[in-house]
C-alpha cells in the first residue's frame, strides 16, 4: 500500500468559474495537514474531491493508492463537512448505531458516546434538535464511527466558542497521537500554525505555499520593499520581475514582496523608476495572510 495521498494537477471548474486551479500536493501518512486560506479559496472543493464527492475536471487523486470512490477506502475514512445537518426523526444514539453499521470495524458504542461527550439524557434526544455545539460533537463522533485512518475536518471550528474550540483541538491531538492522518481546513492562521505538521496555503484556487509551518513562514514571509510612487503602472512593471513574488498597495504605499531586496532596489534605481521614501521590512505570515483575506473581501464587494 502506498503511504501517501497525492493530488496531481487537479483542476475543478463549475461552469466558467475555476474553483481549484491545477493544484498538486503530497500528504504523508500519519501527518496532520492544514488547508489554509480565506473563504472561497477552494478549500472545501479540494476536500470534496479528496472524499470523492466531486469529480475533478482534470487531474488525478490517489489516496494511499486508492481512488476516493473506492468503498474499501471509504471504510477507513471519516469526515466532518460543512452544512451537514443531522438527519431528522432519529435519536442521537440511533444515528450513532446506524453509522457503526456502515463500517467493517467500527469503534464501540461506548467509545463513540464518550467521543460525543454528551450526557445520557442528551443521547435520547432528537439529533436535529440539539444545540449547534452538541450537533458538532455528534458529527465528530460520526466521523470516528468507522475507526478511520484518515480524517477530514472541513472548517471544524467555525461558529464554536473558545472553549468548544479548545475541546475540539484536544480531541484532535488525541487522534494525532494515535497515528491518524488528519486533513483539516481553516481560515484561521493560528489554528493551522498550532495544530498542523504541514500547511497548504490556498488562495483563489491556487496553492501559494506548501510546507511545514516554519518553512512557510520563511517562504511566504519574505522581505518587502515599500515606497511611495506617483507612477500608476509601477506595480505592473515590478511584477514582471522573477524576484518579485507579489505587489500590493496599502495606505498609500506600494509593497513589493521579494526574496532579494538588494536586487529589487538596484532595479528600481537603475531604471530610474518613480519611487521614494524606501523601507525594507521583514513581513510576518500573519500580514501576508491578512493581505490575502483583505484581497478576498475586496473582490467580493
Amino acid at each position: 500500500m502506498e503511504q501517501t495521498i497525492q493530488l496531481n494537477d487537479v483542476t475543478k471548474t463549475f461552469g466558467k468559474t475555476t474553483a481549484v486551479n491545477n493544484v498538486s500536493f503530497t500528504i504523508e501518512k500519519g501527518k496532520t495537514i492544514a488547508i489554509l486560506g480565506p473563504n472561497g479559496a477552494g478549500k472545501s472543493t479540494t476536500i470534496g474531491m479528496m472524499l470523492g464527492l466531486l469529480d475533478p475536471t482534470e487531474g488525478e487523486i490517489s489516496l494511499f493508492g486508492k481512488s476516493p470512490k473506492d468503498l474499501a477506502f471509504k471504510d477507513k475514512v471519516g469526515a466532518m463537512l460543512q452544512d451537514v445537518h443531522l438527519v431528522d426523526k432519529l435519536k442521537v444514539h440511533e444515528i450513532i448505531k446506524l453509522f457503526r453499521s456502515y463500517y467493517s470495524s467500527p469503534l464501540s458504542m461506548e467509545e463513540l458516546i464518550a467521543a460525543t461527550g454528551l450526557k445520557q439524557e442528551d443521547l435520547n434526544k432528537w439529533a436535529d434538535k440539539l444545540s449547534g455545539g452538541q450537533k458538532r460533537r455528534v458529527g465528530f463522533a460520526l466521523a470516528l464511527a468507522g475507526d478511520p485512518d484518515i480524517l477530514f475536518f472541513d472548517e471544524p471550528t467555525v461558529g464554536l466558542d473558545i472553549s468548544a474550540r479548545q475541546h475540539f483541538w484536544e480531541r484532535v491531538e488525541n487522534l494525532k497521537a494515535k497515528g491518524k492522518t488528519i486533513i483539516f481546513s481553516t481560515h484561521y492562521l493560528q489554528e493551522a500554525d498550532d495544530y498542523s505538521d504541514h500547511i497548504i496555503l490556498f488562495n483563489k484556487g491556487n496553492i501559494i505555499a506548501d510546507g511545514k509551518p516554519d518553512d512557510i513562514k520563511r517562504q511566504i514571509a519574505n522581505k518587502n520593499v515599500s515606497f511611495v510612487s506617483g507612477d500608476p503602472n509601477i506595480m505592473a512593471k515590478l511584477e514582471t520581475l522573477p524576484i518579485v513574488i507579489s505587489c500590493y498597495e496599502k495606505e498609500g504605499r506600494i509593497y513589493a514582496v521579494t526574496e532579494d531586496t538588494d536586487e529589487l532596489l538596484s532595479f528600481i534605481i537603475k531604471n530610474n523608476l518613480d519611487a521614494k521614501d524606501f523601507f525594507i521590512q521583514q513581513i510576518r505570515l500573519e500580514e501576508v495572510f491578512e493581505y490575502l483575506t483583505m484581497d478576498q473581501k475586496e473582490s467580493v464587494s
Binding site: 468503498l71 463537512l81 451537514v84 445537518h85 431528522d88 426523526k89 453499521s101 456502515y102 467493517s104 468507522g146
Partner: protein
C-alpha cells in the same frame, strides 16, 4: 448486509415518526372512508360492493400519498440538509441507500394497507374472500411503483416549499381525476376519457376489479408500466443535468 438491514430499519422508523405520514396516509383516508360510506348515502345499488369498492379507493389514495408526498418531500429535505452528500462519504453504497428507502417505503405501505383494510372491516364489516384481500393488497403494493417514481421526481426539487406544493397538487389532482374520491361513473364522459390515461385511475381500477372477483385489465398494466419507465427515464435525465451544472 448488516448495514443495509439497519438502514432499512431506520428508514421505516423515520417514516412512522413523521406526523404528516399519520395524518395523510392513515387519518385522512379513514375519515373519508367513514364519511362516504356511513354518512353520505351512495348511488350504488349494492351497498356491500360500494363499501368494498370505496375501501380500495381509500387504500390506493393513502398509498399514493405516501409515495408521492411523504417520500418526495423527505428526499428533498435530506438533500438540502446535506445528509445525502454526507451519506456518500460512508461505505454504504448509493444503491443500498436508495434501495433501503424503497424497501422502507414498501414496508410502510404494507402497514397502511393492513390498517385501512382493518378499518373497513371494523367500520362496515367489509367481508371479502381471503384471496381477494391478498391479491388486492399485493396489487396496491406493487402498482405503487409509478407513484414512488413520481415521488422520486419530486425529490429532485431544490426547495421543500416547492416540493410540498407541487406534490400536493399532483396528489390531489390524480386522486380526484382518477376516481378515488368519487366513483368514475358520476363523471362526464370527457373526464372518464381523461382518466383512462391517468396512472391513478388504473391503480384504483386494478383493485376495484379484484374485489369484483376479476383480474386487473391489461391496459392497467400497460399504462402503469409505461408511466414507470417514462418517469424513471425523466428522473435519470434530470439528475444527470443537475450533476453537470
Amino acid at each position: 448486509m448488516n448495514a443495509f438491514l439497519m438502514q432499512c430499519k431506520m428508514e421505516i422508523i423515520r417514516v412512522f415518526r413523521n406526523p404528516y405520514f399519520i395524518f395523510w396516509t392513515l387519518f385522512m383516508p379513514i375519515l373519508f372512508y367513514f364519511i362516504f360510506t356511513r354518512l353520505v348515502s351512495s348511488s350504488y345499488p349494492d351497498n356491500d360492493l360500494w363499501n368494498a369498492h370505496y375501501l380500495m379507493s381509500m387504500t390506493t389514495f393513502a398509498v399514493m400519498g405516501s409515495s408521492i408526498m411523504i417520500f418526495g418531500i423527505r428526499l428533498v429535505q435530506e438533500k438540502i440538509q446535506g445528509w445525502t452528500t454526507f451519506m456518500k462519504i460512508t461505505p454504504l453504497p448509493s444503491w443500498a441507500y436508495f434501495t433501503s428507502k424503497m424497501i422502507g417505503q414498501t414496508a410502510v405501505h404494507l402497514f397502511i394497507i393492513i390498517v385501512i383494510f382493518l378499518a373497513g372491516v371494523l367500520i362496515n364489516g367489509v367481508s371479502l374472500p381471503l384471496s381477494q384481500w391478498i391479491l388486492s393488497g399485493l396489487w396496491i403494493l406493487l402498482a405503487a411503483l409509478p407513484f414512488l417514481a413520481i415521488g422520486n421526481l419530486v425529490g429532485s426539487m431544490k426547495r421543500v416549499e416547492t416540493a410540498s406544493g407541487v406534490s400536493n397538487f399532483i396528489y390531489l389532482g390524480l386522486a380526484i381525476l382518477g376516481g378515488m374520491w368519487f366513483p368514475m361513473d358520476i363523471f362526464p364522459t370527457l373526464m372518464q376519457q381523461i382518466a383512462e390515461w391517468l396512472p391513478s385511475f388504473h391503480f384504483g381500477n386494478g383493485a376495484w376489479m379484484i374485489i369484483r372477483g376479476e383480474f386487473p385489465e391489461w391496459n392497467s398494466y400497460v399504462v402503469l408500466i409505461a408511466y414507470l419507465i417514462l418517469l424513471m427515464a425523466l428522473s435519470i435525465l434530470i439528475r444527470r443535468k443537475q450533476q453537470a451544472y
